[in-house]
Amino acid sequence: MKRRLPDPVEAVEVTPDLERRAERAERWRGFRLAVPAYVYLIVLFAVPLVLVGVYSFASRSRTGQPLLHDWNLDSVKRLADSAFLQIAWRSILLALLTTIICLVVAYPFSYYIATRSERTRNVLLVFVMIPFWSNFLVRTYAWKVLLGADGIFTRIGEALGLWGQLLFTMPAVLIGLIYGFLPFMVLPLYASIERLDWSLVEAARDLYATGPKAFRRVTLPLSRPGIIAGSILVFIPSLGAYVTPDILGGAKTTLLGNYIVNQFLAARNWPLGSSISMAIMIVMLLATVLYFRSGGRTL
């Protein structure tokens, strides 16, 4: 005959009711912990976000004061103006070009770091972290020094007879954006290549795949999450960039970011600035949702 061991918690009978109550208390504690941040973000993020949406349909008095009664679609319609579309198109092209160049430069670089021994890898990574964390403004300013009339980069170009002063031109803005956002591409790429299961690549080689073919069919698809995350992290800030074009660009290089800032700080057309901000934000949210849909997990 089997002897039944006494149940140590027999004294307190676990009824479904008690369990439910404990669970409810647990949920309540979780909610309570989030309340301060929740309230803060609703007041200082969600409400302002809705306000920008509202302002997009507001009109503007002759002094530039936004009027919150005469609702219309004027500002939204101005998004179809050819002058604005030109700026939007220019910004999108520049952001795409920045993203592609960053990807092409960063992929082999991240691949190299990820395939070193652990010790070397850590040292190499620290030297990527330093530009990643350094002050963005200072890093942009460094290029203003290099690209100016007297700058070293300009003097090299002149000596080679290849380029003159680039400051205040589109190429200068492109260089600045690449320099500013390259680390944002390197880190996610590194993370996904470093996690790669190398035995799959070896298996492909053992099955007589050539090096390039194994790379194209195995390594590249497996590092896709890093490619997508890096591209989003470069594309989004490039599209909304303000500091870089403002310092390195000139009058002919107005981008979306500068255009919005001008509507608020100079032209005083808040409704127009609001509707452009909303448009940019919607584009970026769509890009991010697509990213999460395509299987990405973290940014």
Binding site: F31, R139, V145, I236, G257
Partner: protein
């Protein structure tokens, strides 16, 4: 068809190409910064021609009243916003990682991610409109409130990564031993997530010190922080004193990075699976 020897030879050649490429990328990262630092010691009013070594530009910084005032503003803004954002962000991270689905959890999760994804310019516009709408005068207060708004999310993301690695049985063990909830948090959970919390705080500090776009929208007279002050001067032109200030800002960033790396090296011992 390739033999094993061919394969190792092409691998080695590829490796050398990759090494060369990586060296060039590092050069691209560091050469501009090196030039900037170099010219901050230049004994010339013109930023780009070497005339001899001097520390004059560094000596001029403490005498520059506007600059020193902006440093003070920056420190107040960074410390206050980091303190609040770290507490709120850590609580949010614990709530999301440790507690079962509560009502509105998914909405909160999304709301917490948005400030990270949204472009600076949009967030700047939002906050300016909000403060104008509620008739809040622009100044230090509005800058601090705005910095907290974007920093909560960054702290929460960093702390969440740490909390999700944590072994929940440690906390359970503490409560089995009759530790009160607060005591088990203070004695077990907090020490374990501390590297994450400090990492998040350092990130918040850096982001607050670096921000230009959002701050220039919500700043008022007399409340200009360092980054915005430097930005305004950079737009006016290249000057050696800006080189000196930039060099010091660079040194400060590097010290912050090394600090956060040291903290990260200490972690790992108590986490599940390293």
């Amino acid at each position: 068809m390739t033999t094993g020897r061919d394969r190792s030879m092409t691998t080695r050649r590829l490796d050398r190409i990759l090494a060369g490429h990586s060296a060039l990328v590092y050069l691209f990262f560091y050469l501009p910064l090196a030039v900037l630092v170099f010219f901050s010691f230049n004994d010339s009013r013109f930023a780009n021609r070497w005339e001899g070594f001097t520390l004059d530009w560094y000596r001029a910084i403490p005498k520059d009243q506007a600059l020193m005032n902006s440093v003070k503003n920056s420190l107040i803004i960074a410390l206050e916003s980091t303190a609040v954002a770290t507490v709120l962000g850590t609580m949010a991270a614990l709530s999301l990682e440790r507690y079962k689905k509560w009502l509105g959890k998914r909405t909160f999760d999304a709301l917490l991610y948005l400030p990270v994804i949204i472009p600076d310019v949009t967030m700047a516009v939002m906050l300016l409109i909000f403060f104008t709408q509620i008739n809040q005068a622009l100044g230090l207060t509005t800058i601090i409130l705005s910095h907290i708004a974007f920093n909560i999310s960054f702290v929460a993301i960093v702390v969440r990564a740490r909390v999700s690695n944590l072994d929940p049985s440690l906390e359970e063990a503490a409560s089995d031993l009759y530790a009160s909830r607060w005591k088990s948090f203070r004695k077990v959970t907090l020490p374990l997530i501390l590297p994450g919390v400090l990492g998040g705080a350092l990130l918040a500090l850096t982001l607050s010190l670096d921000d230009v776009v959002i701050t220039s929208f919500v700043q008022g007279p007399g409340a200009t922080p360092l980054a915005v002050e430097v930005f305004a001067r950079i737009k006016r032109g290249v000057t050696p004193i800006i080189n000196a200030v930039s060099t010091l800002m660079l040194v400060a960033s590097i010290l912050l990075i090394l600090g956060s790396l040291l903290i990260q090296r200490r972690q790992g011992s108590a986490t599940r699976g390293g």
